[in-house]
Structures are given as structure tokens and as C-alpha cells.
């Protein structure tokens, strides 16, 4: 029961952050919080079943891998889109641009 409420609160926090955050990195973090909330909801519901419902567990396992790949793509896009670092051309050369 506590975990269901936790999932709800995290969902709202994540959604609020996703819509209103200023920096793109923060939006990515909010998206991750949001997905954690959804996973939590699924697993907390699976626990009510008897015997333990294995299907949501498998779905969440799949979801974690999908969300990490989405995060990685988003982060790479963010790094490529943001202006190169201030300190000198050296970094620019290193970054291969």
C-alpha cells in the first residue's frame, strides 16, 4: 500500500519535472523518475497476487533495459547538441568536431 502511494507521488514529481524542468539533462532525469514510478506501480500490484505474478516482473525487467537505452540516446544527443566546452580548442579537437 505504501509502495502504491509512493509510485503515485513519484509519478507526479516525474511528470512535473518532465514538463517544467529548465535544463534538458533534468528532463532526462525526470523521465527516469517517471519510469521508475511506473515500474514500482506494476510490481507493487503484482505483489497482491497469489502466487506472485511473474509477468509484470518480466515486463519491468524489459522496461529497465529499454529505459536505459533511451536515456543513453538522449544523453548522447544532449552532449552533441550542447555548445562545446569553453576551455580552448583542445577540447574541441578531442571531441572530434
Amino acid at each position: 500500500m505504501i509502495y502504491l502511494a509512493l509510485a503515485g507521488v513519484l509519478f507526479v514529481i516525474g511528470l512535473h519535472g518532465l514538463f517544467l524542468a529548465g535544463h534538458p539533462l533534468r528532463k532526462i532525469l525526470s523521465l527516469n523518475v517517471l519510469s521508475a514510478a511506473v515500474f514500482l506501480l506494476l510490481v507493487a500490484l503484482a505483489r497482491e497476487a497469489d502466487p506472485l505474478d511473474a509477468v509484470p516482473h518480466a515486463i519491468v525487467l524489459t522496461g529497465i533495459v529499454v529505459s536505459v537505452s533511451a536515456t543513453a540516446v538522449a544523453l548522447v544527443l544532449l552532449v552533441r547538441l550542447s555548445p562545446p566546452k569553453r576551455d580552448s580548442k583542445e577540447v574541441t579537437r578531442k571531441e572530434g568536431r
Partner: protein
């Protein structure tokens, strides 16, 4: 006894909410990232409390390990590490957000209320003997709902392709500190990573573990050894081994899915006597692909065709 467990749950929930708030709503990007890493760590504890050790394993490996490394190295490459002013846009209307949030919470509660409560636990238990493994989660992942896993491996491959298509991988800057600790760490820990992931793969058929955790662990090991400056073991022309290993999981799953049709079975329905072997082989292929994809995601770009250690350091 019950009281202490309740206190534990409430403390954990409060800490998680506070960390989520920190990660999304307080100033300072680094603070947000570190809060999110700790959030992942505590989520692993929450999964244990919710009797989902499989997910706890994956969260410990991916959430607390790989995601943290991804976020931190992205942060290191960003020019601006701090935002000016408040981290969220000021046009937040409380008159809209409070009712909207409450309504959303209410809808979620309603949805949770109406879900069929017994779930599919009975059905999974009943068909477990035909699946070839004893761990219900592995059975669902690689037998009953193998289609989902196929798509998931596809997503990983797609993510890797997307990242590779963005250009060559950024070369790491010259290391500011020369420490004897790092290479030694890579040397000592990498065999341990390999050992633990083989152990998890082997355990996967009858206990929590399996391809996901094993792949994530060895992928994290790869990230650590790249950080430690180890010369990547995947030398060779035209990044041949990368491509083969990355697509191994998807191709193996497709081969099995279509192969069983030749044997006269429906799509993805394994013959019962072969199920155990098939699941094990699929786990091996999927684990290798997941590990390679994690390392590829971490590299943030297409690795160079010819990889020699000297040019990497320059």
C-alpha cells in the same frame, strides 16, 4: 516486528521521494545526478521489499551502475554544469498543477483498483514445467513472452545504431592524474565481473539472475575497464566483432522464432523437450548482446575502425 517493517517502508518511501525531488527540482546539475544515482541504489532495496529479486539484480547492475556512469560521463562532457536561477520554469501555475496532479493520482488509484487482482500467477505456475526452466521470470522472458524480449533486444540494437549514426566516438581527454590504482583495478575486477556474470547466467534457469543481469554486469565491467584505460579488447579491422556480437542476440532470437515454424510449431512456441536448451542458448546470445550494447552506449559514438591504444590517449 510489524511496526519495524512499517517504519522501514515509510523511511524508504520518504527517502525515495526526497531524492526524486532533489533529482528533478533543486538547483545544481551535479546534485541532481548524484541524487538520481542514490535513488537507483535505494530502488534496489525497494525491489527487494516488493519480493522482486530479479528486478533488484537488474536495478543494482543497470540503475546503480551503468546509468550512473552514463549520466556522469555525459555531465563531464557538458559545457555548462549549472543552470542560472531556479531549475524549473517560473510559469508553473499552481492552480493548474495541484488539481492536475491530484486528478492523475486519483485516476492511477482507480486504475490500480480495477486491475484483475489475481494476475497471471496461476497460469505461469501451471505452465512452468513446459518452459524448460524453474525460475518463473526467466520462463516469462524467454519462453512465454519471448516476443517482448525480441523487441527489447531490437530496441537496444536500434539505440546503438542511433548513437553510431551521430558520428565517431568522442575521445577522452588526457587523464589529469596518472594513478597506478586504475590499471590494477581494471585487471583485478574484470575477471570478477566475468565470473559473476557467468554465475548469474547459470543461476538464471532456477533462481533470480539470467541474461539481463549477467549482460548488465559484464557490460558494466567493460565500462570500468575502458575507464581504467585498458586497451579495448575488441581490436581488429572494420569493427567486425562489434557488429557480430551486437546483433547476435537479435539474430539468435529471430532464428529460433522462425526455426520453430519449420519444425511445425507456431511462432516462438518451443518444442517442450528442447525448451531448456533453447532458453539457455538464447540467454547466452541475449546476454552477450546486452553487454556489448551497454559498452557501445557508453562510448557515445561509433568506435574507430582501427583501434590502437596510442591514438586513443592523444
Amino acid at each position: 516486528m510489524g511496526g519495524v517493517v512499517l517504519v522501514f517502508d515509510v523511511l524508504l518511501a520518504a527517502a525515495l521521494i526526497w531524492l526524486a525531488w532533489q533529482a528533478t527540482h533543486t538547483p545544481g546539475l551535479f546534485r541532481a545526478v548524484i541524487s538520481f544515482i542514490i535513488f537507483g541504489l535505494l530502488m534496489a532495496l525497494a525491489w527487494v521489499r516488493l519480493e522482486a529479486p530479479d528486478i533488484a539484480l537488474a536495478e543494482a547492475a543497470i540503475g546503480a551502475g551503468a546509468t550512473g556512469a552514463l549520466l556522469l560521463s555525459a555531465l563531464g562532457r557538458l559545457a555548462v554544469t549549472d543552470e542560472a536561477g531556479t531549475p524549473w520554469q517560473e510559469r508553473a501555475d499552481l492552480t493548474f498543477w495541484i488539481p492536475a496532479g491530484l486528478a492523475l493520482l486519483g485516476l492511477l488509484t482507480l486504475a490500480a483498483w480495477y486491475l484483475p487482482s489475481p494476475g497471471l500467477g496461476q497460469e505461469v505456475q501451471a505452465s512452468l514445467p513446459d518452459s524448460g526452466v524453474q525460475n518463473p521470470v526467466t520462463a516469462v522472458l524467454l519462453n512465454f513472452r519471448a516476443f517482448d524480449t525480441l523487441l527489447e533486444i531490437g530496441v537496444l540494437l536500434l539505440a546503438t545504431i542511433a548513437i553510431w549514426s551521430l558520428g565517431p566516438m568522442p575521445m577522452p581527454g588526457a587523464q589529469a592524474i596518472i594513478s597506478p590504482v586504475l590499471p590494477a583495478l581494471g585487471r583485478i575486477l574484470f575477471p570478477m565481473f566475468a565470473l559473476v556474470s557467468i554465475y548469474l547466467l547459470w543461476r538464471g534457469s532456477h533462481a533470480p539472475g539470467g541474461a539481463f543481469s549477467a549482460g548488465a554486469v559484464i557490460g558494466a565491467g567493460g565500462i570500468l575497464s575502458i575507464l581504467a584505460g585498458a586497451r579495448p579488447w575488441l581490436t581488429g579491422s572494420a569493427y567486425g566483432p562489434w557488429r557480430v556480437l551486437l546483433s547476435l542476440g537479435l539474430s539468435a532470437m529471430l532464428a529460433v522464432a522462425l526455426g520453430v515454424i519449420v519444425l511445425g510449431q507456431p511462432f516462438f512456441a518451443y518444442p517442450t523437450h528442447l525448451a531448456g536448451t533453447i532458453v539457455l542458448l538464447l540467454e547466452l546470445a541475449a546476454g552477450l548482446s546486452i553487454a556489448m550494447s551497454l559498452v557501445a552506449l557508453y562510448l557515445a559514438g561509433q568506435p574507430p575502425t582501427h583501434w590502437d591504444g596510442e591514438s586513443l590517449r592523444q
